[in-house]
Structure formats: C-alpha cells, structure tokens
Amino acid sequence: MDDKGDKTMKDRRELLAAGAAALPAIALGMEADCERPARGPNASEIPNHVVITHQGAKALFYDDLVAGRTVVLHCMSIATEPQYRTAESLARVQPLLAGRLGRDVFFYSLTVDPERDTVHALRDFAVRHGAGPGWSFLTGETAALLDLKARLFSQSGQSGGHRHGSEEDCALAMLRYGNAAVGLWGSVPACSSPEWIVRRLSWVEARQPAAGPPRRGGPSPDTYLRSEGRM
C-alpha cells in the first residue's frame, strides 16, 4: 500500500516536471480508464470525480484534494448561503488557522447547484468571503457534483433515507471534518463558534503515543473550592 501510494505520487511528480506547468497535467497524469490505486483509508468511500475549482483548475476530488490531508468539506450553493451561512462561518475560521490553511489543512466547498454556480460565479463568491489559499469552491459536471453530494452529504440510499420536505436535503448546515491520512471523520454544525471548529481539527490530527506514567486529566482540582458553601 505504501509503495503504491509513493509510486503514484512519484509518477505524478515526474509527469508534472516533464509536462506543461498547467494544472490539467495533474488530471492528465491519470490514465484514461477508471483504474486507480486505492490509496489511503477512505479511497473506497470518497468519489474521485473531476471537479473544477473557483480558480478554474481541475482536480480529482479524492486523489488531488482530499487524500492524506486534514480537510473540511461542506455542501453549499450561492443561492442557499443566506440561509445556512456556512461560507460565512468558514471565513471566520480561516484566520484562526494562520499559516496552516493551504499547507496541510484545506477547505472544500462543494456546490449543489453546479449549473448556476459556475467557476466565474464561485470566484466572485470566494473573493467576497475572502477565501485564501487552501480554500477552494468546487463545481464541475452536474452528475459528478450530485454524486459527491449523495455519497458524502445526503441520505438517499435504497433503504429509504429521509425526506424532510425537500428532495435536495443535503446537510447544508453541516461541516464534515476529517483526517484523510488516518481515515477519521466527524461532523460539526457550521454555526458552531470558529474556535470550536478549529479545535475539532486538532482532535483528528495524528499524535505520538503518550510517554511516561498516565497524567491526571480531570476533574479540575478547584472543583471543590468553587462549589464550597453552595450545597
């Protein structure tokens, strides 16, 4: 597994080095058929569709954007933003991540309305929200975006799923956060405070095994003092 992953990366680097500097080379590096090495713990779960960023670049959703990274994913559209305000929420999270956004933490905002949310429209939208490096708004072929939505955000499987008054039920108020290198994912309401959203990203980060004897984690040693005389 490790070998395969490394090899893919190496191949791609070589292709990039050899080919044009243009981004499509990333996707061109893939074979024309659908074969790809399963790379990472979520490779079988997360669709690897071609998506287009608000900067007009194409990328394979899983291989190029998600694999191996700590990411925040969410569904949105420019039309529904006033109701759910998820982009607004991420815009508040962005400064708290300082230099890490774009380095090893990435936000991906997937439109559920790719027909209207074109690259151009999303670019304007990104500018309005001050999206910096590492935060990409994704559009593309309708079927690709709908499939991403279906797999990652909506509940419409054969076994029923739910309808809460809308066929377009797509978890628009929720952010998925995860560490794709490890395969660990959680969900957080987009309306949560920026600090709590950032804190969650730290939860899914890899850590070193603890050394030494166990440390006291709680309860807080001033519990009694603060409750004294109140019983």
């Binding site: 191996g68 076994s159 108020a173 395969g183 730290s202 440390r215 006291r216």
Partner: protein, 647 residues
C-alpha cells in the same frame, strides 16, 4: 508531501490562467466524461452495504463480563478537591479501569475467527473486553473509579473510525457533574479521569433508587463511533432489598451467576485481509443499522441455563436500532411453553411497583428492562430463543411491521437448558417499591423541547449542540415539567436526560394513570393497528402485549408525532449536564442540549452563553468551563507528519 502540495498549489494558479493546448482540451473533455468512474457504484450508506460475512447462529458462547475487582489503593491518590461533596461520600472502594484496543472474537466461524479490532475496558487480571467488566456497586457505599485512556492515539489506532479521546458517562447515575462523563470532559491517550460515584439516591429518597446502569463513551461528535467500537459496560447497583443474593432481601436470582447483563448491539462487518473488521459509516447522519446481531459482543450466541429462574438485564446498546423482544422455545405441546412470557421487573434504571408479565419487551437505544425468565418448566436439551421481531430498515425507526420468528435476522440468543446444579432459592416478589412522589408544588418552570431536523442536523428547539450555550438553567432542588415534542412525523427519537429519572405526567395529551403501563401493543409507530396473532398464533391477548417501561424512566421514546410530558427534580449537585437523542448518530449530529443546575434562585428560561452564566472563579460553580484537553491547532508546533497506514 509538502512538495506535492506546493506543486498542486502552483498548478491551481497556472490552471486558472486557462492556457490549454488543443490536445489538453481534448484530454480535459475525456476526464470530464470519466467523472462517473468508481466509486459511484459503491453503496452510499452503511444500511445499503454488502452483508457481513456469514456467521452460523448459536455457535458462539455468550460472553459474560467479569465482575469489576476493586484495588487497595490508587497512585497518585484521588484529589478530594476535584469533587463535589467528596468528604460526605468518602469512597469505600477504589477501582482502576483502562480503555484499550484489542482483538475481540465475535464468532468462531471464519473469517471472524481471526478476531476484529475493538475498543473496550480492562481491569485487574482480566483480559480487555467489550462489554467491559460489570461493577457490583451498593447504595451507601461510595466508590471512586480511575479510568485511564490507554487507547492508541490518532494515527496509531487500528479502529480508525473512533476518536481515541474519551469521556465515560455512567448512564442513569445520580452523580456530580464532574463525574458524569460530560461530552466535553474528555481525556486523551495517556491521561486518567477520576469518577466519584457517591451511590446515594436522588435527594436521599429511597424511592429514587436505581438498579441497572451502564457506562459508555460520550465524546462530543464521536459517541456513536466510540460506543460502536466497544466502549460500554454495566454498573449494577444493589441495596438491602435487591441484594444480589437470592437468599436475602427480595430473593431475586443471585448475582452474578443467575443475574446476567445482556447488551444488544447490531454490528456490520467487512471481510478484510482474510479477517472480519467492524464497519462504521462516518457519513451517515440518520442512524446506522448492523446486520449481525450481537449479545455482549458475540454474534447470535448461546448460553447454558439451568431449569430455574434467571434475571437478565436487557440493554439496547444502539447505535440506532429499536428492538421488540420475544421468546420462543423448542417445546410445542402448549402455547405457554412454546411462547414463554417475560416477567419485567424494571423499566430503565428502576424497579416497577410490581412485576409485569408481558409477551414482548420494547427497547429504544439506551433503555434497559430487567426480566425474570423461568426455565423450570423446561428439560435439559430444550432450547429457548430470544428474538427481535421488530422490522427496521433505516435510522428513522421501526417500520411498524413484524418479522417472522423463522427469519434469521430476528435471532439474538439461544438458551440451552442443562441440568440443575443447586436448588433455586430465588423468588419474584409481588411488590417492589412505589414510584417516587410527584410534588407539583416544587415545580418552578415548564419547558418544551421540540425535536426536529434542519439541513443535515438534528435539532432541539431549532438549535444544535453548543457546549458553551446553556439551554436551561435549573434551580438546584427545584422540579420542572418538561414536554418532549417530536416535530417530525416519520422519525423516532429515544430521548435521554442525565442525572435524574423523570416521571410521566401525560402521553399525547392523555394523563398518565398510576396503574398505566405504556403499551404499544396493537399500535405501530405510524399509528396503524397491528395484529400479533399471525406471529404468535394465539387466540387472545394478554393485558400487556408489549412492555415499554414503566412510569419512571431515563429514556423517553418519542415515536413520530408524539408528545410526552414529564416531571423531574434536580437536587444534590451543581454543574453542567446534557439531554440528547440516544440514537447516537442523531446525538453526534448535534441533537443535544446542555442544561445546568445552578444555585437556587439563579435559574433561567432562555438559552444563555456559559460565559454569561458563570463569572470567573472563585464565583463560578464547579467544573463548568470547557476543558481544552488538547492544544488547539494554533498552539505549539505542528505534529509530525502522519505515516501512511497499511490497508
């Protein structure tokens, strides 16, 4: 890694320039056409995934968790300053329990025989297990439990879907906030938390006593994953009536030989590298269903019983399934022998005023019912089978249809009758204890909680869990009337509130009568009439067909469109607690509120920020601040890069 990312970043900019050669444009079109490459043909939800590997029923032996052994001392010793009322309830027993990752044997058949990575608890000389060891606690005997998180940290755990950062809630216990296992009171790998369980009934009222409690992980956002990974176990609370000895008190079957806890959990497995591993779907928000029914984490096991009375503590361990349990035996000469009844003695944590005979037991997630099963009419070689006949296809709840006994999906547990080894001195008393008194003069506030859905999140009063928002400020010692209203017409929610049990006042507008047992027999969640006769093949019905718990509970089953009105009272401690849906997938998608017990006179009606409720120390009540157990992403240097894991 960085190199590739930098390249990608550069590429993004270059791509934006839109300079494409004709060849590239053609290739681009090809790529866009291949957007439907796999995995779009893969199942989208866990409930649609391929079935788990086959496992023959009744081949695995039931696992009976060991009784938790006390330890003589703790090093370092407990810190009395870390607990409310520690001096009043000095621990008389100390325990040490460790959360670990290990290989658990769900079934002897291949590929299960190679074992499956699980999380659970380890104590004393016992091997780690799921469920963990069973506590044998006693009223009047406070205990201190030191729980150490020895799980491998993120990036090292074989159970990838769980967060190895834990908080253990003692479900149903009347404990101080700091010992409750609040969702934000987590410890990371390498840390320990001291839980002080004072083991006294709420308000020192003997009628508030409890018996069957369970402990389970309650980590914010990861409760479903962590409990599904195996972090659960039982805590049995005894007293001078319910002694655990069939020769004394109420003479209920003796613990632990004839008093067996049974946690029901439905798990899905995938064949991986010749073994079978537990499958979790982090993308599911509705509720996960497994297709392998486990009892104490063995798939459809068997258990040898003597022809005598047993007490079984039935628990729906979730994550999302409702159960309606029925019995059938291998003996067909009489209806009573073929379809034995349960004698229910408890509902959730408490004893019923008197035992109730019933055809079936209905359980929502988190609920318990203790039953007495009497095998004395059976002979060695006979079999009695425990089945779940309730059909459920997704997280919404039961469909309203029943499955047939012969459907293998209904199998849970087979009792194999073996010869009697000693006289059965157990009895079923005619009466236990009355419900606690409802004192309406103590009611200070009434609140309505509406459970609904919005934008992928499960809501309570149109809000979602925010650990820093206090949705209800409750005056210590006061009572309140809460109305749980299901805002949805298709979804069921088992609603659980910590700290105290509630008493029903009304169900769907109908006042609760003292002699009333909530009975869904003849009524399915969608309100249609049901007829159990084709299943049970009986002429007449018993007065209670389906037992759903008594008047006093800690989980309220909100069936579609239901409205339940309950009475609760909050004495003894201060601090933060939660109320939430115990379909733990709903809970993790934010169907939870924080409520706080505050000093008398300082309660409030509308949600407030915790910062507004509590001024800085020393005026703040105990343990209300969020504990940042781990540095935030801004703190300190970045962790080292994650080594790729082997698949």
């Amino acid at each position: 890694m960085a190199t590739r990312r930098d390249v990608l970043k550069l590429g993004l900019v270059a791509g934006g320039a839109g300079l494409l050669t004709a060849r590239q444009a053609l290739a681009q079109r090809k790529e866009l056409v291949k957007f439907l490459c796999p995995p779009d043909d893969r199942p989208r939800q866990i409930n649609d995934q391929p079935p788990s590997p086959e496992a023959r029923p009744w081949m695995a032996e039931l696992f009976v968790p060991p009784v938790m052994p006390p330890v003589p001392q703790l090093v370092p010793p407990p810190d009395p300053r870390a607990h409310q009322r520690y001096g009043e309830f000095l621990p008389r027993k100390l325990y040490e329990i460790r959360e670990q990752e290990f290989i658990w044997q769900y079934h002897p058949d291949p590929p299960y025989d190679k074992g499956s990575y699980s999380w659970g608890f380890q104590a004393g000389s016992f091997l780690p297990s799921t469920p963990g060891p069973t506590y044998q606690a006693r009223y009047g005997e406070p205990v201190l439990v030191r729980r150490t998180n020895e799980l491998p940290p993120v990036g090292h755990a074989k159970v990838r879907f769980g967060l190895p950062s834990t908080t253990s809630h003692l479900h149903n216990a009347h404990t101080a906030s700091e010992s409750d296992g609040n969702p934000v009171d987590w410890i990371d790998s390498g840390e320990f938390w001291d839980h002080h369980y004072a083991n006294f009934p709420a308000g020192h009222d003997p009628l508030q006593k409890l018996t069957t409690l369970w402990y389970h992980d309650h980590r914010l956002d990861f409760t479903a994953a962590n409990v599904y990974a195996g972090l659960a176990g039982f805590y049995c609370l005894f007293d001078e009536d319910d002694t655990g000895d069939e020769n004394t008190g109420w003479h209920l079957p003796s613990f632990p030989k004839y008093d067996i806890p049974l946690i029901l959990q439905d798990i899905r497995f995938a064949a991986v590298d010749g073994g079978a591993q537990v499958v979790f779907d982090a993308w599911n928000t509705d509720g996960m269903l497994g297709d392998r029914m486990t009892v104490n984490r063995r798939i459809t096991p068997r258990f040898s019983v003597e022809p005598r009375k047993y007490r079984f503590r039935l628990l729906d361990g979730g994550p999302s399934r409702f159960y309606e349990l029925f019995l059938r035996s291998s003996r067909t000469e009489s209806r009573r022998l073929q379809y034995p009844r349960f004698t229910a003695i408890t509902g959730d944590g408490n004893f019923l005023p008197e035992p109730v005979e019933t055809e079936s037991i209905f359980l929502g997630v988190g609920q318990r019912v203790d039953v007495i099963l009497d095998f004395s009419a059976y002979k060695p070689g006979d079999h009695v089978y425990l089945h779940n006949l309730l059909q459920q296809l997704n997280g919404a709840g039961p469909t309203g249809a029943y499955l047939d006994f012969d459907d293998p999906a209904t199998n849970l547990l087979r009792f194999d009758v073996v010869p009697l080894t000693a006289p059965d001195n157990s009895r079923i008393p005619d009466q236990f204890r009355p419900w606690p008194r409802i004192d309406l003069s103590a009611v200070k506030r009434e609140r309505v909680w509406t459970f609904d859905y919005e934008g992928g999140l499960w809501t309570i009063n149109n809000r979602v869990m925010d650990p820093n928002r206090v949705d209800a400020g409750i005056d210590q010692g006061s009572a309140e009337i809460w109305t749980f209203r299901n805002g949805g017409r298709n979804w069921s929610h088992p609603i659980h509130s910590h700290f105290v049990e509630f008493l029903f006042l009304a169900i769907n507008g109908r006042p609760y009568r003292e002699d009333y047992i909530q009975d869904i027999g003849g009524r399915d969640p969608r309100g249609r009439d049901l007829d159990l006769e084709p299943i049970l093949g009986r002429g007449t019905r018993s007065p209670v067909d389906s037992f759903m718990g008594g008047r006093r509970r800690d989980v309220a089953i909100l069936l579609p469109s239901d409205e339940l009105k309950v009475y609760m009272r909050w004495p003894d401690f201060l601090g933060k607690y939660v109320m939430h849906c115990h379909n733990v997938v709903h809970e993790d998608h934010a169907m939870m509120i924080r409520w706080d017990i505050v000093e008398p006179g300082k309660g409030f009606d509308q949600p407030r920020s915790a910062d507004a409720v509590y001024t800085p120390p020393p005026d703040s009540p105990p343990h209300v601040e969020i504990r940042p157990a781990s540095p935030t992403i801004n703190d300190g240097p970045s962790p080292p890069p994650v080594p790729p894991l082997e698949d």
